[in-house]
């Protein structure tokens, strides 16, 4: 009784791999933090914000989740268990591998910045959602969707520090942001490769924000919503 079953599963696996092997691939998404187009360097390099604040950055982390690829024919690839913590200090977090993507022409990529409300109420999670990464609020449960910290002489806070911890998962303070990036605006009109670069421009965070007035955001609320709106525009795609 045992052997035929084994053979059967063997055959199924064989056919499955024959049938789909050529039509699947992995796509690597490279997340590149930049400031006004220049590669972001933490600690040492100084940058000037739109409000003319000179600043240095010490920490940049954010969640990207629920990746989807929309094909020209309207079909959609959804990454399973799609939660990625991006940390500018950890190079290996800057690359996301989308596995087993069908071949075909891709028109756009969709994802969220942050962690959705379902995961925010699901208790103790693991992987990138492990609460030990400093991206979880203990006193008011929920993930910090994005975090940016640094120093600026314009900041009147202790040690001239600014800290933006952007979170909040429930209405009307839900700071999750949906992003869709068009990949058709190029000479071929689609993306078909396996390397996609997304630059994340930190300058966008500071639209309308002067560090002399706002030295940080540490709770869900209006200010968090504003910063989240700002950084929802931070991504630009490039590929060969």
């Amino acid at each position: 009784m045992k052997t035929p079953k084994k053979i059967l599963t063997g055959l199924v696996v064989l056919f499955a791999s024959l049938g789909f092997a050529q039509s699947k691939r992995d796509i690597a998404i490279h997340v590149n933090p930049v400031f006004n187009g220049e590669k972001l360097v933490l600690e040492t390099k100084k940058y000037v914000s739109p409000a003319n604040d000179t600043m240095q950055f010490e920490r940049l982390r954010f969640y990207l989740s629920s990746f989807e690829l929309v094909f020209n024919d309207g079909t959609i690839y959804k990454e399973k268990n799609s939660y990625h913590l991006i940390d500018a200090e950890e190079i290996n977090t800057l690359k996301i591998n989308l596995k087993d993507v069908p071949t075909g022409k891709i028109a756009s990529v969709k994802f969220n910045i942050g962690v959705d409300s379902i995961k925010s109420v699901s208790g103790a999670l693991d992987g990138d959602l492990d609460p030990r990464y400093g991206m979880y609020w203990a006193w008011n449960s929920g993930y910090i969707n994005a975090k940016l910290e640094g120093r600026s002489k314009s900041c009147k806070a202790h040690q001239n520090r600014f800290e933006f911890h952007i979170g909040g998962y429930s209405f009307p303070e839900n700071s999750l942001r949906k992003v869709e990036i068009d990949l058709s605006k190029n000479k071929t009109g689609f993306f078909e490769g396996n390397q996609l670069s997304l630059s994340a421009d930190i300058q966008t965070w500071f639209n309308g924000i002067a560090l002399s007035n706002v030295t940080g955001v540490m709770i869900p609320g209006k200010q968090a919503m504003t910063v989240a709106d700002n950084y929802s525009n931070m991504f630009k795609a490039s590929f060969q």
């Binding site: 208790g123 103790a124 492990d130 609460p131 030990r132 203990a138 006193w139 449960s141």
Partner: protein
């Protein structure tokens, strides 16, 4: 329909019988009686609502419970290894910090709120006085990370546990042979222990179950009547809380300036509202209220009778004066004392165990 309701009735009777049996035999509890690795079920007493906690992702097992108990009593969780969860949550006093208005943590530092008890937590939707914590699994992160409580973090604790052969073994026993000592398993084990802290065998419960030889005294009977009229709209039976947020008329403490629920929701309509606490074992959980301002139940009754402050969002239920006489107040207190569950408070399965 008929069959179904019969079935429910029968299973209710069965549940009650097993409950009664396990309590009358007194020596071994349902939880620990099960063989290793068996899934242990929470007891849902007759007439109680469905628990809120989703046990499918974290069923209580004997090993998980024992590991959680060990962690709950282990000061290694705090930065300088002096404070454990049980430093503030003592079993004999209903898992609260008795005699302390505001809790004390590491190096004697004072917190800003009175300790809450941990009982029947499987029925609690949101935790803390302001309901800021949405799942019991992530609850421990608050005291662990608080600079005035344990001043620690998962990144401090997990490597410490990983150095101990004892914990390596216990985590594998609880979560499978490949299980690691990681945040998720650590938090799930603590949750299993806390979820099993069930109290439903007070005199009140026994009278409600019509157990032989147990009856309310006259004052207790009168107290129950008054309680149902004036208190139960918030402290609703059988949990003795409706799990809502209310302003029960406490004068604002201008030093602490605690906005309560509004701290979480940022809504004016939630300002000065706090979670309605359960009154089970309330006799032992003094000091009372979120800032521990009242030392005894007499003071609490005095508050409801004479000193309701008409602050923003005062519950409409408290706008009419109670008009309790001295006897009424004593009767209500007599009733509240029937909510003391000695068996729970002294149940050895919740104790610290050496092994």
């Amino acid at each position: 329909m008929k069959i179904k309701s019969n079935f429910i009735a029968v299973s209710c009777i069965l549940v009650t019988c097993t409950m009664l049996l396990s309590f009358s035999s007194r020596k071994d509890e349902a939880l620990l009686a099960a063989p290793p690795n068996d899934t242990l079920k929470l007891v849902v007493p007759k007439g109680w609502p469905k628990p809120v906690y989703d046990f499918t992702k974290n069923p209580i097992t004997r090993e998980g419970f024992e590991l959680g108990r060990k962690l709950f009593y282990d000061p290694v969780l705090s930065q300088d290894s002096t404070i454990s969860c049980s430093s503030c949550h003592l079993q004999y006093t209903n898992f609260t910090h008795v005699d302390h208005a505001l809790s004390h943590g590491i190096k004697g530092l004072k917190g800003t709120r009175n300790t809450l008890s941990i009982i029947n937590a499987a029925w609690t939707k949101n935790f803390m006085w302001d309901g800021g914590i949405n799942n019991i699994e992530v609850q421990p992160l608050a005291p662990i990370q608080s600079p005035v409580e344990m001043n620690s973090s998962l990144n401090i604790i997990l490597p410490r546990l990983n150095k101990q052969e004892y914990y390596k073994k216990k985590f594998k026993l609880a979560f499978g042979k490949d299980a690691e000592i990681n945040s998720q398993n650590f938090l799930k084990a603590l949750a299993q222990y806390m979820l099993s802290l069930q109290s439903f065998n007070s005199k009140y419960d026994q009278v409600m179950r019509k157990e032989a030889g147990v009856a309310f005294t006259e004052p207790e009977k009168r107290g129950l009547k008054l309680f149902r009229k004036k208190c139960a709209s918030c402290h609703a039976e059988p949990l003795f809380t409706n799990n809502e947020y209310e302003n029960n008329g406490l004068a604002v403490d201008t030093m602490l300036k605690d906005g309560g629920r509004a701290k979480i929701t940022h809504l004016v309509k939630d300002s000065l509202k706090f979670r309605v606490p359960s009154l089970r074992n309330v006799e032992l959980s003094y000091q009372y209220m979120h800032d521990g301002r009242y030392r005894n139940l007499q003071m609490v009754l005095f508050h409801y009778n004479h000193s309701i402050s008409n602050t923003i969002n005062l519950s409409p239920k408290l706008k009419e004066p109670m008009n309790f006489s001295e006897q009424d107040k004593n009767d209500v207190i007599a009733f509240l004392k029937t909510l003391t569950d000695e068996e729970f408070l002294h149940n050895p399965k919740y104790f610290y165990q050496k092994d």
